[in-house]
Symmetry: C2
Subunit: 334 residues, 2 copies
């Protein structure tokens, strides 16, 4: 009989989540039924959007159920199959989340092709929702054009490190990023194709952005919200576009954040601010897989990850993500 | 010899403009040169955007020059012409602004056709920049669809009274407006095809909007900024679109206005906020003229105006506009 270790949400955090909000359980799995497969996960994803689902506020996805195992992206190998669609040894991705062994109907798993020299975790990062979020947000929401100056907040994070690379590969004129430490800022230019970077902890974001992009910005990819959006509104050229992807700076705040003080620039400079959820841009998925697959296979994209070992440490990895301890994609190695 | 009375800007207002910021001058006009025409204005327009041009802050149009006559839309009759393109008696519109008699090269004047029973001032309102702003902003920036619930701030003003009517004529499901007095609110439903309205002075805008649009809003047309935008962000359905046209509530403020406290909804509900300047949407002008011309000729659109008499009172009319004393379009009758 197989066993699965799983992490479940047991209470809705107020402000920062604590260890009391989750529990680890060990589940004895039944024998496979007809049409089912069993998968040993290799990597499990932790993502900022999960914080939103821990709350029961109105949002774009249903809240997590209390007492249920946390769902989310994971990648693993099929170890047993009673389905014709999936074979033992197949690499698969699925949404069954924070568990070491996943089992269910074959329709819940999608077979992907391993790429030589690329770890399977890439299907959670560059080739997964993370990379697609960067791609769709930059090219289809913010509609980046060749030659544009692009500003990215959370630039060394999972999505941000992809945005910088995609912007550069697609011909941006200048790519500027903000991150939370000197080490991350160094990674921006050394590893993620950014032209310039600054640490938002080292001064006034508006002033640092003005210095880093003295001719203004055309595109802003927002991962953090707050004063970064105000800085972008200050530096936007006429007709600028912002793709608003997340506001990790506010996810654990129990106070209402006040908005930018320069909203009037939206009118006078004809700006567009668009919030987006990547799931609503699926029509671009084939183009993404082809283009990103090519870049990854050619070694043009850095697949940096911050890896935490052990399914039992998944919640700690999530907290680390919330604190910004990752450079690149944060994953748990099972 | 002809004389022209003109109003000129002589200093840049800090906060609310005062009479000291302008002067009235009387100019003796030279004889017409070859290719020139002379026009006696019938109506001169005062518009909120003019406040922005009185300042020298970065904006989408150049600041007014100090010591020069205020420019802007006007409509009048040709009283003398030395051009083949324009004949005595023609009705023309132009941008020479706050003066009773305008004179210059014929290329600065555009001949328009009078419509039976419609005052020439309609070319400053419904058939002019005001109507086009409402049309382009509602249909092409906010991309209103049939059945949408639409919210409009400054709903009884020049642009707002047009937005309500266009929304209704184009099949909106429900149109809700906010205005600054009970009299204006009554006009919304009685005259401008709104389904519901409220006075923003009578309570909390967020709560009043929730009550007026209990199923949420899909489109917001923003003429005022400030707490109305926060209310809209609170009531938006997923995928909602805002056309940001102006922020008259802040034009005369010397303090920095803080932005909405619920910007995070832009991401979670996939909202789009787009500032616009109507001059960048000229490609829709032919469709506008055809559609609006048809509505005006058929009597489907109310052409309400607040009329101030006398070119020497133009600045007072402008101040009245800033204070919200107009219902419908504010014009000066020369």
């Amino acid at each position: 009989m197989a066993r699965s270790t799983q992490v479940q949400l047991v209470s809705r955090p107020q402000g920062w989540p604590t260890a009391d909000d989750v529990r680890t359980v060990h589940v004895d799995l039944p024998d496979l039924a007809e049409g089912e497969v069993r998968v040993e996960n290799e990597f499990v994803s932790v993502d900022p959007y999960m914080r939103g689902r821990m709350s029961d506020a109105r949002s774009y996805v249903a809240p997590y159920e209390l007492g249920e195992t946390m769902t989310g992206a994971a990648v693993g190998r099929v170890v047993a199959s009673r389905s014709d669609a999936v074979s033992e040894g197949d690499l698969v991705i699925h949404e069954m989340g924070w568990r070491d062994v996943a089992q269910g109907d074959a329709s819940r798993f999608r077979v992907v092709q391993p790429i030589d020299g690329v770890p399977s975790s890439a299907y959670l990062g560059a080739l997964g929702m993370t990379g697609f979020t960067a791609y769709a947000g930059l090219l289809h929401v913010a509609r980046m054009q060749e030659g544009d100056t692009v500003f990215v907040s959370g630039a060394a994070g999972a999505v941000g490190s992809m945005v910088g690379q995609i912007a550069s590969l697609k011909g941006a004129g200048r790519v500027v990023g903000s991150a939370g430490s000197d080490e991350k800022v160094a990674a921006l230019t050394e590893r993620y194709r950014y032209d310039a970077g600054f640490s938002y902890r080292s001064g006034d974001v508006t002033e640092m952005l003005r210095e880093a992009a003295p001719d203004g910005i055309d595109v802003y990819f927002d991962n953090v919200g707050g004063d970064h959006l105000e800085a972008a509104l200050d530096s936007f050229n006429d007709g600028g576009r912002a793709a608003l992807c997340g506001a990790i700076s506010q996810y654990n705040s129990t106070e209402k954040a006040s908005g930018p003080g320069n909203m009037a620039n939206i009118v006078t400079r004809r700006l567009t601010l668009q919030g987006f959820i990547v799931g609503y841009h699926q029509e671009h998925m084939p183009a993404f897989l082809e283009e990103m697959g090519g870049w990854v296979a050619a070694g043009d994209v850095r697949l940096d990850e911050t890896v935490v070992d052990g399914i039992e440490n998944t919640f700690d990895a999530f907290l680390g993500l919330m604190r910004g301890e990752n450079t690149g994609k944060m994953v748990v190695r099972v």
